[in-house]
Amino acid sequence: MSHRFALGFRRWWPYYLMMAPGLIFFLVWHYFPIWEAKMAFEQVRIIPPNIWVGLKHFQTLFSSPVFYTVLANTLIISAMKIIFVFPIPILVALLLNEVRSGRLRKFVQSAIYLPHFLSWVVIAGIFIALLSPSDGAVNQITGFFGAKPTSYMTDGFATRWVLVISEIWRSAGWDSLLYLAAIIGIDQSLYEAAELDGANRWQKIWHVTIPGIVPTIATLFILNMGMFLSADLNQVINFLNDVNRGQIDILDTYVYRLGLRTGEYSLATAAGLFKAVLGMAMILAAHFVSKRLTGKGVW
């Protein structure tokens, strides 16, 4: 046994040495925080050690009305995104696939992929300018049809739609790439057979293309469901203000404010853990359901 170990070591030590930096990154940056999360069960004291208080912070959290507002907002925004954002890239891919000129398709793709590579700070900046009540493009257009200027960023219900639309603006183009890849993989002879049967454009889309990408749609849908509790911190935090908070404050922004603005470390960590554990359950469920149904998982 020890002989085998020595042989293994002689063969493999260079590989472990090369992996060491990466492994250390993972252990420090991902596993220490898991250990630090025990703070959720402690009273944090300025002079250590902290005192173990069990589930006290979770009780405080679950009896706080703000927590339920924030949870509801998270679920509502996620649901809105699944319903209104998820289908768009599929439609975009179907449209792109109909374009006969390769040059035109490339041109369209290059333009609509761009927002995916912009930060949410930039996108929020662009949308705040677009939606400006005084001279934003949106209010100019609606004003042309006689509507009064609307301030979309100060009405939380409207801001939810801003979240949905800015998400479409950012990801509809890029996400269509995955579906396009699936469409390219469809057996061409199916189209030829459909043409022989006299199928028109819509019949070919309906009977050949869509069935061909259903597995991809299913996989991505299930994986999206797995992310249901993260309504995207990076996005929301840039659209959040004191006026629209009631409708768009989500779990992550709540944790951020509670912990890093008001210094309620333990309570914030408890809220974060609540999300982490539930989120883990959902991602794992999504992974195994997806693996079973479509053969593809999260990893």
Binding site: F25, A129, A137, D197, V255, G279
Partner: protein
């Protein structure tokens, strides 16, 4: 059967030459193309509008429409003032430093680790994979992360953002898959020539992996350039802020003083006289510029990387 009246029945024999389209088909095609072109306009116009504002004569920006893409007059005043601003100057340097160091460390760490993980007989391979996958599934949140930084004394240092999750689990998996496909014969040949494990990695594997490494490098580059949240919470010192945080402070938080400066604002001199809208527009475009500069590369490598990563998923 209705086959005799079916339009395809007449066309079928000349399938190869059936390019002649009915007016209805042409209309459909026109609608499809117009929809896509409309998407292009909706994507690009808001950005071009900001470009136009930042290049306009500052005195004429106030009345400018959000719909136009043509500058009102022409002036570089906005850009000159922004580039002279200390927060913008330090922001540019900080962003370059963080992105450069983060990308370099990220690519090296990821490649070295992926190489080990791609060897099918490496002892402990499964365990390490599980360790990596756990981090994708379970994230304890920002507060424990913050305390980790504090405990290591990294708060308010560049390292806090450069090293934060320096090796990305997804990029690691993409590289592992790429390395797994390197033909075994090549490696054996090198081994027979007397190359050791390090020489094989640096002289055989890395040159072969150049496209994959370029893809990963671009992933890290875009990630680090666009990162703002960690920088915002870890860096208190304004002088260390990357461009994204400066932009956020100014455009999203609407902190006019951050960009105009209290002194200028009070005496209405310098930057304070320029229309705020124009300054914001210029700031947004400045932050996008590096992404636009490498966009052709992004299109080339990201598309492939994402497709192969997704298909093998």
């Amino acid at each position: 059967m209705a086959a005799t009246t079916h339009p395809a029945a007449a066309e079928a024999p000349v399938r190869g030459t059936a390019i002649r389209r009915t007016p209805l088909e042409r209309l459909e095609y026109a609608i499809i193309i117009s929809t896509l072109l409309l998407m292009v306009v909706l994507t690009v116009q808001p950005i071009l509008n900001l470009v136009a504002m930042s290049l306009s004569d500052p005195s004429r920006v106030a009345g400018m429409s959000g719909l136009t893409i043509i500058p009102e007059g022409f002036s570089l005043d906005v850009w000159m003032l922004l580039l002279q601003h200390p927060l913008v100057q330090s922001g540019i340097l900080n962003s370059i430093l963080i992105t450069g160091a983060g990308t370099l460390i990220g690519v090296m760490g990821t490649a070295l680790m992926a190489w080990g993980l791609s060897r099918p007989h490496l002892p402990g391979r499964r365990l390490i994979f599980v360790l990596v996958l756990v981090t994708i599934v379970f994230e304890p949140g920002i507060i424990p992360d913050y305390f980790l930084m504090k405990r290591m004394g990294l708060l308010d240092t560049y390292w806090s953002v450069i090293l934060y999750k320096a090796v990305n689990a997804w990029y690691l998996i993409i590289l592992v898959r790429f390395f797994e496909e390197i033909p075994e014969e090549l490696l054996e040949a090198a081994e027979l020539d007397g190359a050791n494990a390090f020489q094989i990695f640096f002289q055989v594997v890395l040159p072969l992996a150049r496209p994959a490494l370029a893809t990963i490098a671009l992933f890290y580059l875009v990630f680090h350039w666009n990162e703002f949240f960690r920088a915002m919470i870890y860096l208190n010192d304004q002088g260390k802020w990357p461009l994204q945080v400066v932009l956020r402070q100014f455009v999203v938080e609407g902190d006019k003083l951050a960009i105009v400066g209290a002194n200028n604002a009070a005496n209405n001199i310098g930057v304070a006289q320029i229309n705020l809208k124009a300054l914001k527009a210029g700031m947004i475009i400045m932050t996008i510029l590096p992404i636009l500069a490498i966009y052709p590369l992004i299109l080339k490598f990201f598309t492939k990387g994402t497709m192969s990563g997704a298909l093998k998923g």
